[in-house]
């Protein structure tokens, strides 16, 4: 227990660094979902769209002060760098320190609010109580009116979760791994049922609160920004199909606002974890997010995008293109007449441009140039749409042809899917030329004997 002796000497800077480092694998850093004007007295307001305050060198948005309260933990999850068997520096911030940091950062417009998570200190309920105390202080003593996102700790006293819910804007419980088996193998102290219980509780809380708000306008708001969760992708053997189905049922049955996917980064080097020589599965994560958007805003179902026979996303086509080329019987779509739902299914047309098209076609006949100006990506859309009965170029409505044109030549070569594994032979391609040049040969060539 040497680190405890060190504790007093750690500067605030060191502790902030340790606890930031410990929190960075949590994905959610959004500050969206709540519109709250300032009250003219306390510091802070919230914007519905969320505000990004900076971007870190991995390109992710920095919106909230994302830290752990402590990185000490009694659990031993194999993928987590804070697990109890890990030999890392440990640190803890007191509730007052967290509040001061948050308000001082907020005044300088560094951040949009606080994202507070924690390792499990002593017991889930004890930890949740610390979190509750911090948030209570921040709201009532420090009079902070900005965005707060906290983790609900599975296994904590429901009463505490309930009370915390009335103080914060968003709550999340991490599902961690998409299936119960995955969870059993990598996180022996966590149980799926224990994770789903607080999720259900928060959902019920939000629903009841909605009807309260209808009756009493000034009823306190419970988790106004909705709840979110996160799944690790690539640590266990689940397919995209399984993950997407879990996400869909979370949206349907638990009323979640967001499901986040986090490409697995092997930080602990545990032997139960896969080695990732090519880096974290970022493309897979990207495809999952694209599909997630299709579920939430484009009216797709998970079963349309993937099925048990094709459980993984296409590497080269995004999920919408992939769906479109497999359903060519529904195309081309006429821009002047097609209903909004059909426009939304065209690759290259997003929610905004679909709405713009629907509004603009009332007063004018649209041309391809107009579409381009409205934000339609013609490079992708041109195979699937007609304007005034005509396609942009004479194109064949044929799967192979379209796929070949949608994918970049460079991608096709990179992924080797075009049969492009061959290349033109040259004189210097022969096997022996790849051998390193020996010192003797160098000498001989230098004196002109070779």
């Amino acid at each position: 227990m040497e680190y405890l002796a060190l504790h007093g000497e750690q500067s605030l800077e060191d502790r902030l660094e340790i606890l930031t480092d410990a929190a960075k694998y949590d994905v959610a850093c959004t500050s969206s979902g709540v519109e709250r004007r300032g009250n003219g007295r306390d510091m802070g307001n919230c914007a519905a769209g969320g505000i990004c305050h900076s971007f870190s060198s991995d390109g992710r948005c920095i919106s909230l002060l994302k830290i752990l309260m402590t990185n000490e933990c009694i659990y031993d999850c194999k993928y987590c760098q804070n697990r109890c068997s890990g030999d890392i520096p440990r640190a803890t911030l007191t509730p007052e320190e967290i509040c001061t940091l948050t308000t001082e950062f907020y005044r300088r417009n560094y951040i949009e609010g606080l994202f507070l998570s924690s390792g499990i200190l002593q017991a889930p309920t004890f930890t949740m109580e610390l979190i509750y105390r911090t948030v209570w202080l921040l709201r009532n003593r420090f009079r902070f009116n900005g965005y707060i996102h906290v983790k609900a700790i599975p296994g904590a006293d429901p009463e505490l979760i309930q009370r915390t819910g009335f103080l914060v804007d968003r709550m999340s419980v991490n599902l961690e791994l998409p299936t119960a088996e995955g969870l059993r193998s990598l996180a022996p102290n966590k149980h799926r049922r224990a994770i789903l219980a607080p999720m259900r509780q928060i959902q019920t809380g939000i629903r009841e609160n909605k009807s309260d708000l209808v009756r009493y306008r000034n009823a306190p708001k419970f988790v106004g920004g909705g709840q979110a969760t996160q799944m690790i992708v690539g640590a266990t053997a689940e397919s995209d199909w399984q993950i997407l189905n879990v996400a869909e049922s979370l949206y349907d049955k638990f009323g979640l606002k967001r499901v986040f996917y986090s490409a697995f980064v092997n930080v602990t080097g545990d032997r139960a974890l896969p080695a990732l020589p090519g880096g974290p599965p970022l493309l897979r994560e990207h495809r999952l997010y694209q599909a997630d958007w299709l579920l939430r805003f484009y009216g797709f179902r998970a079963s349309e995008l993937l099925d048990p026979k094709r459980p993984f996303f296409n590497v080269m086509l995004d999920p919408k293109e992939d769906w479109a080329v497999r359903h060519l019987e529904q195309f081309p779509v006429e821009i002047d007449r097609a209903p909004l739902e059909q426009l939304l299914r065209v690759p290259g047309i997003g929610v905004k441009s679909a709405r713009r098209i629907a509004a603009a076609r009332k007063s004018a006949k649209l041309s391809f140039t107009d579409l381009k100006r409205m934000g339609v990506v013609l490079k992708r859309a041109l195979y699937f749409i007609t304007c005034g009965g005509k396609m942009m170029y004479p194109v064949k409505l044929e799967e192979d042809y379209i796929v070949r044109n949608l994918t970049d030549v460079r991608d096709r070569v990179r992924f080797g899917s075009d049969g492009m594994t061959y290349r033109q032979m040259s004189l210097f391609d022969a096997e022996q030329f790849s051998l390193p040049v020996s010192a003797e040969e160098k000498l001989r060539s230098a004196v002109g004997q070779l």
């Binding site: 960075k24 007295r41 307001n45 900076s54």
Partner: protein, 253 residues
């Protein structure tokens, strides 16, 4: 053809729109020009800005097209485009002719003027959104929060209400160094704009704590990045370089 010459201000441009309607001009044959160069074969009218006329136009715009579309028009006028006045004027004329209704002013995107007003408004709107996040205050010795910005569009008037709502008890100043404007918010009172010549640049002596929090935040930004996912091009597209010279975490001081 009629040409109205106006200044680059909301007041002047809205007054010109008022006049064009009051004088019953043919809107497809009327131009609002910001540059003083005369045109051939045109009747020239110099517009004197009139607060009351401008206010009446604003009221009409808000009533007919809703608050959001009105704000988009204002954002379009905050841009630096030469033809912004004309684009806004033709958009308004088109909206009134069609009786567009709230939220539908920019529906007719196939029209080049509407499209231009829309894109100008969107561009300025994006910059406003960016700056709401990217503005950095530093605490001066006197406790005043001070920030410098150098935006492409004239967005200070849009930023001030946001921060005044957010930090009602703070004394803060945002300085637009490209246009030499100060936005000033005294604690607990309404904010106002100061033109550069009237204002005395305050002596920038930082408070004692400032350096500490600045360092803490820089540490935070460095640590939060995941090395295995490093993606500098993505960072650059999300946070263009032109903002960085004003941002604490990217500066060296």
């Amino acid at each position: 053809m009629t040409v109205y010459f106006c200044e680059d201000s909301l007041e002047s441009i809205f007054t010109a729109i008022y006049q064009a309607y009051a004088e019953k001009r043919d809107h497809s044959d009327t131009v609002l020009s910001l540059s003083p160069e005369p045109m051939l074969f045109a009747e020239h009218v110099r517009v004197t800005p009139d607060v009351e006329k401008a206010r009446r136009v604003i009221r009409t715009l808000q009533r007919r097209f809703g608050e959001n579309d009105y704000l988009s028009l204002c954002a379009a006028l905050a841009s630096e485009h030469r033809e912004k006045a004309q684009a806004v004027y033709r958009t308004v004329a088109d909206g009134l002719r069609r009786d567009a209704g709230p939220g539908h002013l920019f529906d007719n995107l196939a029209d080049p003027w509407v499209n231009m007003a829309f894109s100008l408004g969107r561009g300025a709107g994006r910059e406003i959104q960016h700056l709401q996040g990217f503005v950095r205050f530093q605490e001066l010795e006197s406790g005043v929060l001070y920030s410098v910005i150098g935006p492409k569009n004239n967005v200070l008037t849009f930023l001030m209400p946001h921060f005044a709502d957010r930090l009602p008890q703070e004394n803060f100043v945002i300085y637009d160094e490209k246009r030499n404007f100060f936005g000033v918010h005294p604690s607990g009172r309404d904010w106002y704009l100061l033109c550069g010549e009237d204002a005395v640049q305050p002596a920038l002596r930082l408070s004692e704590q400032e350096r500490q929090y600045r360092e803490l935040f820089r540490h935070f930004c460095r640590t939060i990045a995941i090395r295995a996912r490093q993606n500098l091009p993505l960072q650059k597209s999300m946070l263009p370089l032109r903002f960085r010279e004003y941002m604490t975490e990217f500066r060296q001081d």
